[in-house]
């Protein structure tokens, strides 16, 4: 912009952007790799004219002016081309000549992400690095009776139950008299939460499925993965691997035509069916797959025309009350598989979770309750929903667990906690904390993307462009030029690494607490926090 022209309101300088590109001229060979790889076109080849003045120390010689032309990298400042800090340019630069740096103050771009009246949408999680789960410590170390357990040598059974567990009295009667007993699965307590085929690239989806199959069949770890709302590739539906899969049905019913038709051909029952009523990242919103990502393949699996945005309605159309809707849906889904498959609802974290739970306790077919807290991730949502909507998972799970205890039904409806678990890298500690607060299992999504596929998104608003199909890692893109970057075999390998190391860490947490024969659900005497209010709220010990 020249100095004497008017500045438009949305004319930003590089300083106003959240990420500034640092480019080192002396290293750059002008190969152009960075500009061609940038997912948002934030950098371009710059042509710079330079005036040089050559003045001679002796006054008698007149100074000379020369002009030179230089080439280099220039950062764009238009709001839609603002650098997202993904550092893909850094990744491809052979000479380490370029890197995004985070601004030293809050950017001004945030006030201009609504050009044309379009509120900001993005992927990722709530942009907040705080986590109450990180502050929970495991304090009840078994020192009273020796020997304490050895995480490396003792035998551990850390599986959890997914499915409705009857009150022991009723269950024993039913088992002895041959009555109907609700289906219950014994699964690994760390689950891969719902991420749809469509939100994820085919390579990412395949990689996760392969990893899950390997964990189950080679390592004997009963890890389960939820499909999200996007249907399932027909071959998987008809394969033996379906038993490791939790099918999700949501308000758009995408892909369910294919699933229902495949039922007679299924070799195995799915692990469970999850009915999605809400999502932590965007409570009150249905799923959303932007048109950029709806190619032929996605359209075929979902049973829709290609190239159109696919918003799921915020609610199930049959819903007059959650009680009724959940009851009806659970009933019909259970019936579809002859009451052999656990069916449970997933809701977003909310202060009304305990009421939903109370309703479920009266429904003998309700197999669990999944709660997705405010820190849950998504492929696409309004920024305002992600940053400001929803209830934190810790107190939500605690309230629900204590409600079940008061009813004498603790663990009869397993509580599955999700949302921000491991968001600062402390996966096992966060998961164990939630389990001791009362969760029967925990779900991860974003963490699996980060650890198994190298997603660079963060809560400092880095990258987070999963919604536009330009994922620089090929995780959330449907563009073959991008998802080819991701090798499914390598994703599977990293997923296995993730679970195996998680397992070691979980044992390292529970062994010193003296626990090995069963997952310490609700072992609230084992945990403490150095915040009195949080301790009171969670009914755990206050420690300093």
């Amino acid at each position: 912009m020249s100095a004497n022209t008017a500045a438009s309101p949305s004319q930003l300088s590089i300083k106003d952007l959240p990420w500034q590109i640092q480019w080192r001229e002396e290293r750059c060979t002008l190969c152009g790799a960075c500009t061609s790889v940038c997912p948002v076109g934030a950098i371009r080849l710059g042509v710079f004219r330079k005036r040089e003045i050559h003045a001679h120390p002796s006054l008698s010689t007149r100074p000379k002016t020369t002009w030179s032309i230089r080439y280099g990298i220039q950062q764009c400042t238009e709001p839609h081309r603002a650098c997202v800090g993904c550092a893909t340019c850094t990744l491809v630069c052979p000479n380490d000549a370029i890197m995004p740096m985070h601004s030293d103050e809050k950017d001004k771009l945030r006030m201009h992400r609504n050009i044309g009246g379009q509120a900001r949408t993005r992927g990722g999680r709530r942009n907040d690095n705080e986590s109450v789960l990180d502050r929970i410590k495991f304090i009840r170390i078994s020192m009273l009776t020796d020997p304490a357990l050895d995480a490396g040598r003792h035998e551990f059974d850390l599986r959890t139950l997914l499915g409705r567990v009857l009150p022991p009295q009723e269950g024993v009667r039913a088992a002895l008299d041959g009555g109907w007993v609700p289906p219950v699965r014994e699964i690994y307590p760390l689950m891969i939460g719902s991420m749809s085929f469509g939100a994820l690239s085919p390579n990412m989806w395949e990689g996760l499925q392969m990893g899950v199959a390997y964990l189950n069949e080679e390592l004997g770890m009963p890890v389960r993965i939820c499909t999200g709302e996007g249907g399932v590739p027909p071959r998987l539906l008809r394969s033996r691997f379906l038993k490791y899969v939790i099918l999700q049905i949501a308000s758009g019913y995408f892909g369910w035509d294919e699933i229902i038709h495949a039922i007679p051909h299924m070799k195995e029952d799915p692990c469970a069916v999850e009915i999605k009523y809400g999502q932590g990242a965007k409570p009150g919103d249905g799923g959303l797959l932007m048109w950029h990502k709806v190619n032929q393949l996605i359209a075929a699996i979902r049973g829709v025309p290609p190239g159109v945005s696919l918003p799921s309605p915020p609610t199930h159309q049959t819903k007059y009350s959650i009680e009724e809707a959940v009851a009806k849906m659970i009933q019909s889904m259970s019936m579809a598989w002859g009451f052999r498959v656990p069916v449970y609802p997933k809701i977003s974290g909310t202060t009304t979770a305990t009421s939903v739970l109370n309703n479920l306790t009266r429904n003998p077919y309700a197999a669990a309750l999944a709660i997705d807290g405010e820190d849950g991730g998504t492929g696409a949502a309004y920024n305002v929903s992600m940053d400001h909507m929803g209830a934190p998972i810790a107190s939500n799970i605690r309230d629900c667990y204590l409600t079940l205890c008061a009813l004498g039904k603790q663990n009869e409806i397993p509580l599955i906690a999700g949302g921000g678990i491991g968001k600062n890298g402390n996966l096992a500690a966060n998961a164990a904390a939630l389990i001791m607060l009362g969760a029967s299992a925990v779900q991860i999504g974003k963490y699996a993307m980060q650890a198994a596929a190298g997603c660079v998104g963060s809560e400092s608003d880095r990258c987070n462009i999963c919604n536009i199909g330009k994922c620089p890692k090929g995780i959330t893109s449907q563009d073959p030029r991008l998802y080819r970057r991701l090798d499914p075999e390598k994703v599977a390998e990293r997923l296995v690494d993730l679970f195996v190391s998680f397992d070691t860490e979980l044992k390292k947490i529970v062994a010193p607490l003296g626990r090995s024969t069963s997952l310490p659900i609700g072992m609230s005497d084992a945990i403490g926090i150095n915040d009195k209010d949080a301790a009171d709220r969670l009914q755990i010990r206050y420690v300093v």
Binding site: Q169, V184, I521
Partner: protein, 376 residues
């Protein structure tokens, strides 16, 4: 770690015999308290087999309130064993006003109830008294049950036994559970002292119950009268046994399947695999994590010992027909029954329930891999 010693005998024996055995194992307890569960009496109490015996400790004011309440509810005292302390008061033993061991006649409306309801009425009466006592800390009630009495006191077991004159004909009995306490907290609450008792069932444990809180949270909310207190993490063992026998209606052999269910590979060849796998899921909330050794007695004169599944606490059972002892250590057993065939001593392993039945003729070992006696 506490020391446990139990005797089951065809001919009544003195509880002091068990206390002396505890004394032999004194390295394992610190003399901070003793608890006795006595049942199947021989002496004068044998005449009152069906009449509930109230055991506890009161202040004088407490006794007055207790008497008034019992009278109010229609219980009439029939017989009383006066326990008068003798000799010097052991170190740590507080001065008490009254040790209560008293037989009551039930009011007609309770005596006429069917067994199950009559039992519940007795449990509720005990709980009422306990709650009354908690208000002013003037009444402590350990048990209120026919042919069963409990004595608990702070102090060295041997000294307390002598001080309270436990060696007396009136206390000769066939079933004795005795625990020498290893104190882990300074404020000693007698309600935290083993053995624990509910509806004719009594158990004592040593070790640490690391799964205490979730199990307590489950039991407390089952609406079963008496699932309360939990001053000790071991009290849940008694209540789980009660739950197994009385709520689920399963046999004693099922207890072990609830607290330490078989692992999958162990279940694989079990004839009742399907039932046990189900039971494991249903009762997962009562799985213990040890390390614990549990010794208990159930109505009818059966005594048993089980270990947690990691087998981390010592325990041995041995004896001869007519007299068997369950002991934390072999030295206790050697002291109590020296003239036995030691080769027949049993140290239960992680799958075993060691049982001596009411005939007191032999030790049977029930392994979890064996079929359970179930009736649908």
């Amino acid at each position: 770690m506490c020391r446990l010693f139990a005797l089951t005998a065809s001919e009544p024996v003195s509880p002091m015999h068990a206390i002396r055995a505890l004394d032999v194992m004194r390295e394992g307890h610190d003399g901070s308290g003793v608890g006795l569960f006595l049942s199947d009496f021989g002496g004068p109490l044998a005449a009152f087999k069906d009449k509930p015996i109230l055991s506890g400790i009161c202040t004088r004011e407490g006794l007055r309130r207790l008497d008034a309440a019992m009278e109010d509810w229609g219980f009439t005292p029939l017989w009383e064993l006066p326990i008068t302390p003798q000799g010097p008061r052991p170190r740590w033993t507080p001065e008490r006003d009254v040790y209560v061991l008293r037989v009551y006649d039930m009011p007609a409306h309770i005596a006429a109830l069917p067994q199950q309801e009559r039992e519940l009425a007795l449990v509720r009466t005990r709980l009422e008294l306990r709650h009354m006592g908690l208000e002013n800390e003037d009444i402590i009630v350990f048990s209120f049950w026919p042919d069963a009495a409990m004595i608990k006191e702070i102090g060295d077991p041997l000294q307390v036994g002598e001080y309270l004159g436990v060696e007396r004909d009136e206390l000769l009995c066939r079933t004795i559970l005795a625990q020498g306490r290893q104190n882990t907290n300074y404020a000693i609450n007698l309600y935290a002292c083993h053995p624990f008792f509910i509806q004719g069932i009594s158990t004592m444990t040593n070790g640490e119950n690391t799964a205490f809180v979730p199990i307590r949270d489950f039991l407390m909310n089952q609406g079963v009268p008496g699932y309360e207190g939990y001053n000790s993490d071991s009290e849940v063992f008694t209540h789980i046994l009660h739950y197994t026998l009385k709520v689920l209606g399963l046999p004693l052999e099922a207890y072990k399947h609830i607290i330490t269910p078989l692992k999958d590979h162990e279940l694989e060849n079990h004839p009742q695999k399907a039932f046990l796998a189900r039971l494991k899921q249903l009762c997962r909330r009562m799985i213990i994590d040890g390390p614990n050794c549990v010794i208990g007695a159930i109505p009818g004169g059966t005594m048993f010992m089980v270990q947690d599944s990691k087998k981390l606490r010592p325990g041995v059972v041995g004896g001869r027909p007519g007299l068997f002892a369950f002991s934390s250590e072999i030295c206790g057993l050697d002291f109590a029954i020296p003239d036995r065939d030691r080769s027949k001593d049993v140290q239960p392993m992680h799958l075993d329930t060691v049982i001596v039945g009411p005939s007191r003729q032999e030790v049977t070992v029930c392994r979890q891999t064996q079929p359970l006696p179930l009736h649908s």
